[in-house]
Symmetry: D3
């Protein structure tokens, strides 16, 4: 079995508990996560051989990152140790009318300060089937903008499927900078996670009132015929505990959609999108049909909202059974 590689930053999340405001908190819950790492955990849970590449400081927090990944069977060979600090963010967990709020403290991290690719590319990308990158990494520095492109090209040359999750973060860079990067990067991408807003903002697709999502994907594809697959979720926020969520997957000219989940008791929505990506990639890697794939991914994402922590905690078997049986009584 060839391996999957995901590469990006992993951070310490310090979140409030018991509905306390951040300034009043006497304890914070500590979790380790990041988009690409969360996808790696999902895929490992589904039985794939997956490695996560990043860099963490050589201290107990870096050690905690390593233990977190190993626990779920993620390969940590490419988790470098060095640099000054682990990126951190504080999360005031929302409740009802009060939205969640993030305070970033991620600057100057070991990963963000990297200026060259410290892995041997032949090790990192050898025997690899798929490489996942995101739009967060190039937002960290000019160096990372360049290195991300280098990685994508190197993967492409080796025939590896390149996946990009745009994941725009307004606190890290401008729409203009992100657009410039994404439009160049897209030339090496096979699978793209992007939605309507990404199409408008970064790919400059002209807005058409009332147009469905396939219009936007079609338009992007005109410029980038190399992109074979697009995916995204459509989320409607009622309040911090109540969302609707629906999965989209576009391939070979057809838009596939899941049911629209009514998620009434959100425990933790951080990582909901990553769980969706994990499901989509699982479908692609195991040859599920597009409809099966989007159904699997959407349920994985909906279920992620019922756990504390950034990563999906379900096996492929559990998700498949739920797809078949729906919400059930206690089994006893």
């Amino acid at each position: 079995m060839k391996k999957v590689v995901t590469l990006g930053e992993i951070m310490l999340r310090l979140s409030t508990i018991e509905d306390t405001r951040m300034a009043e908190s006497q304890v914070f819950a500590a979790d380790y996560g990041g988009g690409e790492a969360n996808v790696a955990v999902s895929l490992a849970n589904y039985g794939h051989q997956v490695a996560f590449a990043s860099k963490v400081p050589q201290n107990p927090l870096g050690q905690a990152v390593k233990q977190h990944l190993r626990k779920y069977g993620v390969d940590t060979r490419f988790l470098l140790e060095g640099g000054e600090r682990l990126g951190t963010y504080y999360l005031e967990t929302g409740v009802g009318l009060r939205s969640s709020n993030v305070v970033y403290d991620r600057k100057y991290s070991s990963f963000a300060m990297m200026t060259e690719l410290e892995w041997q590319l032949d090790d990192l990308l050898g025997e690899t089937e798929l490489l996942l990158l995101s739009g967060i990494t190039p937002a960290l520095s000019d160096s990372w903008r360049q290195l991300t492109l280098t990685l994508a090209k190197a993967a492409k040359e080796r025939g590896i499927t390149v996946v990009l999750d745009v994941n725009y973060r307004g606190k890290l860079w401008s729409v203009a900078d992100c657009g410039t990067f994404v439009r160049e990067m897209a030339n090496w991408v096979d699978v793209l996670s992007a939605g309507r807003l990404d199409a408008l903002n970064f790919f400059k697709v002209p807005e058409v009132a009332g147009a469905s999502l396939d219009y936007y994907y079609e338009e992007i594809q005109k410029g980038y015929p190399n992109i074979k697959t697009f995916y995204s979720t459509t989320r409607k926020v009622i309040d911090a505990n109540h969302n609707f969520l629906l999965g989209n997957l576009y391939t070979e000219g057809i838009l596939y959609q899941s049911v629209n989940y009514d998620i009434q008791q959100i425990v933790d929505r951080v990582g909901g999108g990553d769980a969706y990506t994990g499901g989509i990639l699982h479908g692609l890697l195991t040859g599920m049909s597009p409809q099966e794939t989007v159904d699997f991914a959407a349920l994985a994402s909906a279920m992620k909202h019922t756990f504390h922590g950034d990563h999906n905690q379900l096996s492929a078997t559990e998700i498949s059974e739920m797809l078949k049986n729906g919400v059930k009584e206690i089994k006893r």
Copy 2:
């Protein structure tokens, strides 16, 4: 005042807390309960003299069972000590879309391994008004299948009201075995807790599309005219925290029903059925009208969903006041 006796297994429940999955749990909440014990607690809360008969090991967990029962005023004279272990089960408490999940570890327990009735029947059943048994006990072993019948006959001979809660557990025995037992047992039963599925599966009542519940009870009663009263709840599961619940009571040819409770914030639904049974028996024992009885029982059951732990924690006065006043403002 004559006493009530309930007899069955009581277990240690180890449940996850704070929305954690079972495999991730670093702590489990410990509670002691079981259908027949929970009914005993309800009745004691309502002021009845009630004894719970069972067997627990002579160790601190057995001691905890005893203290749990005494705390609520349940008579523990018939709680035997001996055997190897206390039956245990692990509960992953569901949240929203994620259902609760039970992992049983109850085999080889002190109670399940009993092969004869270790109580003096004249003590156990003397001065007794009502005996509650359930379909879980005979599911534990061939011995218990036999002993349950013995108990029912002995009670019947003494003029005691015999109540059977079918409570089918698919993880413990087959539909066929349960049916064989129930059909024999039913000859000694005065009050039966069973629903439409029980009628179909165990009493082989022919299904009639769209038929209301009274049809099924009527059919059972044809074969067992000794059964004077039937009861059950109708539950509709929206998700793990949101259920609808309605109580049914059938007696003298009439089906009485409560309002349909919309329970939007379920804390712990384990024991919801037992709280209903407790309410029904309280009505029978105190001579409430059938409508009063089903109203009382359904509210007791609905309220049980708002506490952690297996047993009802309300007094009869509290329930009666709520029936009168409905959901209210804070009183201050």
Copy 3:
């Protein structure tokens, strides 16, 4: 900047946690609050210079009160030390169908036992713009009935805006006694917090079927033309976690109303009314328009329901931003 003074009792609240019933609780959460103190905290959060006047015992619980107030920037110059005990109340925090329940243990407190005004009135009321009193204080004793009137008159003489929050507590005095007091007190009041029931019960306004709230305010104003402004909230209780809340403000013959908030995840509703008062007074003190004022106050009140503890924890800026932007996605 002139100061605001609020005067009343502050108590220790001991509330159940984790959905436990009061009799089962092995821990209680400790919070310090009271209507007038909570308004003081709100106003301090909004940048006003505000002092809270009360009396607490000279022990660690009194010290805790002082630290609580100072933390939010409330002036504690008029917080007297002495007497025997701090008023206390126990709160069983409701969940779903189970309402919250309060057990008062506030008799004989340092504040309730006061028989004269122990402050120098020239200090207390000097350089003061607004004085907030409530109907709880006169309910504590005959002395306090007299002293409250004395305070109102002294404030009036100094040209201070006098605000009265009727806040009727049925466990403390009768409707008749409250009415007698309120009708006398109203002569010195500029701003009155009262609703339809207060109009009927205490001001003896004749009920008119289907009449809107402005009718009642108009009727009161006929007898008390000195009252320029009336305010209240209209709350509809679905269950202990789910309420609707709408703000009313009546001034210069017009009734202004906020949107009707659908609060689906109530964490703690104690202090919701005080947060509303805080918002109204902030609007009055800063010259907001009536519609801005009622909008601000209603959102402050709705948001209060999402925190544990009696007092509003939002700044004026946070509330204003939410008014503009509504419920939002996580910002990151």
Copy 4:
């Protein structure tokens, strides 16, 4: 088997946890206890039939008291319901150099406000072997001073063994008042818990430098030959977690003493003296030799220091085994 009766106040203890100071505490641990109630629990644990007589309010806190007592098998027939409030005290749990600190809030309690004996004395004292009273009860009010004497005399007349635990509380009454009471009360007492200071202060025994404890007991006995047995502990405080404790028992002219326990890890010392009393009474009631009695009582008291909560949690079997085997390895 005849019953034992203990009579006195039971309170809610609200104690700080996790080494927090009282004014900083956001939670308090809730426990129910009082000297006479704690002795009742000890004796019930040892298999005696024991009733606790007191009065608590008819609210959830009163209900909690009842459940607490029933859990350990104490008879609650004589636990009256009524009055305004449950006596409360706040405990800042000491650690190391920082001593524990108590803030009483017990005035005006249901028990303290009693002005007559609300039990039928023939019920209360019928079929009774031993009655335990303490010096705390008469300290609560003039009424209780009188009623305590009434109880002692009534017991004496019925041939019941009367035990008095002096338990002087400086915050409740003066040395002089206590002395007056104790000297009258002592005429009806068979067993007295008192130490050297009690002899000096209340019985006015002349101090003799270097005299051992038997001198003081002998002197008291000269005035009160009816007192057959005296007992006390000698405690040396190193710090809040480290004490030495030794038990004394004086009977038939001989002073018996236990080993001096070096208690290095005190979890909770409240109730240490009551556990000692429980052990002494158990020895008296079961006819142990004086040396066996003092050994049993001293170990019970030392072990109490290793649990949270006011009451001893060990059975007589556990204590006897520890006496035989001493501190041991983990058994597995």
Copy 5:
């Protein structure tokens, strides 16, 4: 690098927290451990390639075992899934004078019920340098007695170093049965963990008053010249939180001893012996001198007492630095 294999049972430990007695516990802390698994974690922490062989049920508790081992880098290839249940034990954590107490609930576990070696021996023992077995495994059943011998012989034939930790458990088998087994087993053992009592009881070495430990090892070695190395700890229990601990290592006729650690604040002593074994094996595998080995192992064991959980959590570097620097100030 060749691998190390440890084989045995791994259990769920449910331990009391916050000094609560077992019967009073409302929560239990959940940890996964067992002697051989704990040694595997230690060795993985020290950088060795180590596999743990066992069998766990296919349920969330079995999944938790797997995640626990992977987190620390232990190879779980030989962790079989199947059978009925995970062995469990309850631990009342001792404090001060109160010793820890274990209640076993380990019968009928997936591992204990094994009747044949379900691994391919060539996989299990291929490329293996050292095999660790213990005296707990053969105590579980007659089958395991036989299978343990089979494993030892198979290892011996492959030139693998066989280590036996006698680890006698009186609750599982008799001294006689253990002796019979150990005396046969010893023929295939290279390294033996045993102390003076093991020598007397199982190897029937004649007691010599005042003889030092080397005498006993010498005597065993006379009968089993194949055993080249012996090790043990000498522990003196002051109370549950205060122990002295010293390490012994005997090889080539010389007894090496560590300093005697004064451990005054024991957090959790379960696994202290396994941490010692881990240190000894690390010394053997890396060619440390005997004195270095015993020093390393004794400190690893002493430090284990300062963590909650069964396994050592220190790296080899951390232990080596502590050996050099001793207990230190906070470094900042």
Copy 6:
């Protein structure tokens, strides 16, 4: 009353709880503190008018700092808002043989990045009696080295008492750099917190075997006759929970010393030195005798070890009473 000013960095401390290692921690306790801020809290507790000058980011963590200081009555007028982040450090709380361990994450903080004095010196130093600075501030940057000297000179010119706490942090700068700074700074200092090692390393006092502390202070004073007062503590570490602590104060040629406290149950030793400084400054500011001062300061420091959090929580009255009465029984 003139005010006291302390100036320096305040950080968020994230510490492990319940004896967990840092890499295993799922929660961290959050506290706000720093040497100069902790002294400010001490002095405010003792009734002084004290302001703390620093800079924190304009986010909820900065808000938490402000609330922390206000709670204890510290003036926050000079707490600037701005910059990128709040300095942070992680503390693995030691237990027994395992020492505490600090991981700094304080670089790039709002305070550390300051390059000029952003306060109006006339505001900051006007009406000021005493200014406390420490050797941590100049260790943060070259700018701060210069600004610290500027502050000291400006204070000196205004006749303000300048106190310097050397507080050498090896992780922040070299011994050589610290020495260069301290030797220049010392020219403007009136009161110096330094010990023997500081004298040797920074003031290059020649070592004299066996010399007492006064020798070193005398030698420093020869070069800096402006320094009138020296103070320090002598700490002996037995293990992480057990230290001895003794206070030193040197003035007018005499060394005053407190008793040597045997602190057996350390809860949190961070801030122990700051509590000592707080006590010394309180003595200086209120004109206590040197012996009274050192006694007060040493007890304040010893007591600080019994609380969680960085700052002293005792009032001057509490400390004085303890000095008089020593460790006592529970008072009740």
